[in-house]
Symmetry: C2
Subunit: 347 residues, 2 copies
């Protein structure tokens, strides 16, 4: 199943805000709709955002009324800026947009530029799907029979353009290898991507799992019920510091305290070589409403939003945190598993 | 405002499952209804459960049709057993029930026993309210102007029989002293007692605060935004190990990692002198539904329950965890603040 595709000149994505309740597709007819999709988290997950951004910029080229290359490039620069402004933390988006602009800058007619950009977007998507297989292959070696694994947020196929995902890839490959293991799924407040997306993905794969509140992960580590932690990432600094979904830092500190290996699974496009430490990664603050309200389904399976806090209550909602490299055992990449301090080897 | 009272031969409690949406009272006409209230968490919080259990047992005496003391005692033993079976972790309940049975065993007519038990229940309630003031007085000394304080779950007046509460008592007294500070309120999944009860209490007191998801506490500690952590407890072992709401252990480990003082506020009735370590405290596992579903209000302010997970998903739901004494800076008691290792001094 592909999370994103190009269909009859439109960008088609799985609407992840409706999962696990409804499997619906959303069609973007303009790059502005792609911008909106990324902002509203119709698509989310760093690699998936990257691929979506790429197709969004290609869509901007196809929808442009420019007849001269120069005018098209001006429009594309504007579209790129808007697409890049959607989510500040995820690295893959910026890299993908740069690659599409490079394709555009190679010149040619408006028609040739459009085709070159779309080709590049497809290329990024293919690379993305391929990397999930390689992460799965390397990461599966970490999983032993009888293991209990913790994961946070969703770094599954939904967070990429398809196939295995990042953090879930080792589990999916291990399952295919016949290994038996159990996954603790952090629900991952505020948006519950663990409860809503990861639990849905694991059920589809027949991988045994249970949802736990984020508060319970430390408890299970403390009583010896967790053997391994694998998470994804939104941006990784050159020194191995990792920006990922809020709460990742908590799990990493607790894993270290309890002597449990903590791994981060990423494509190389998530690494930001320009940053020598995680402190410089911008942390997105999202709207208070994500904390104060919650969406789910009623008995009739209809999606409802409810308030779970006092009327007029205020919230703070940082979406990511930084896990310093010292808490990370290893980084699972498509080129193999490396220590966070040895990331430079892959450059 | 009293969370629990005795009104015309009935036990009257604030229905905490309706807060912060509706302030409603629930009237118990039998001790079985009190049992149900504690199980369903209509009342919750270790000291509050203790006082409720006491009035519940007094109610059993008043509702008994026994005419002979011997028969009454037999009925009371049965009621005590049922009341004690409601929640396994909170210590205060067992102590309160023992005190009421002691009052009953002092003998006399059925009428005299009833009166003695009710008097004892009122005595426990008065002691409970008094201890919240003393905890507030000692704990307020920890709070300096400009402090940012983190609390987890609800250890406010709702978790006691009234007045100041335990963990929130120092904040309420500091506020009266004119100190300016800010409170980060962990929402405290799965039941969101932070978002639903603590935020409601702090708003009533005019104490500045914001709700954060439990995942964000570590982030705010890491960036230096938290100066002090204060939580309550459900049971404390003689060595200072603390059982409290799931997630407390996570916050304590993170506080230590970031050099932030971590305090636990409790009445002496929460201490279990028979346990030399926290490992022996039983941890209640509650129903999966608490994780998979959530209650809140729709736009019309009507309470609704929604499912926030895939259909058929499984969950694990431990309600408490154990924070070893080594992570705790001090224990705020009605007799003053002591180090966890020095708890024996208070015996």
């Amino acid at each position: 199943m592909d999370t994103i595709s190009w269909e009859n000149g439109r960008v088609k994505v799985i609407d992840q805000t409706k999962l696990p309740f409804q499997l619906e597709y959303f069609y973007c007819d303009s790059y502005q709709e792609v911008v909106d999709c990324i902002k509203r988290m119709v698509v989310r997950g760093a690699p998936c955002i990257g691929v979506t951004g790429a197709f969004g910029l290609a869509l901007a080229a196809y929808k442009s009324k420019a007849t001269k290359t120069k005018d098209l490039i001006l429009e594309l620069e504007k579209a790129k800026k808007l697409l890049a402004s959607t989510r500040p933390t995820a690295k893959d988006l910026f890299g993908a947009l740069d690659r599409l602009m490079e394709a555009a800058h190679k010149g040619g007619s408006v028609r040739e530029i459009r085709k070159a950009m779309l080709k590049e977007a497809f290329q990024i998507k293919e690379e993305d799907k391929e990397m999930t297989k390689r992460i799965g292959k390397y990461g599966a070696e970490l999983i032993e029979n009888g293991y209990k694994i913790l994961t946070h947020c969703n770094a599954g196929f939904l967070a990429t353009s398809g196939n295995y995902g990042t953090a879930l890839a080792p589990m999916k490959v291990a399952k295919k290898q016949g290994k038996k293991f159990f996954v603790f799924v952090d629900e991952t407040r505020p948006r519950c991507q663990g409860a809503k997306l990861t639990a849905w993905e694991l059920a589809r794969e027949g991988i045994e799992h249970a949802i736990i509140v984020d508060n319970a992960a430390g408890y299970y580590m403390q009583i010896g019920e967790i053997d391994l932690v694998i998470v994804g990432a939104d941006r990784v600094a050159a020194n191995g510091d990792v920006a990922n979904k809020i709460g990742t830092y908590e799990k990493a500190v607790l894993a270290k305290e309890n002597g449990i290996p903590f791994y981060v699974a990423i494509p190389l496009s998530t690494i930001d070589w320009t940053l020598d430490s995680g402190e410089k990664i911008p942390i997105e603050e999202r709207e208070e409403e994500e904390v104060l309200y919650l969406e789910g389904v009623n008995q009739a399976n209809k999606i409802h939003k409810i308030r779970i806090s006092p009327k007029g209550a205020r919230a703070k909602n940082p979406s990511f945190d930084i896990t310093p490299a010292k808490y990370i055992t290893g980084i699972i990449t498509p080129q193999g598993i490396v220590k966070p301090g040895e990331l430079e080897k892959l450059r």
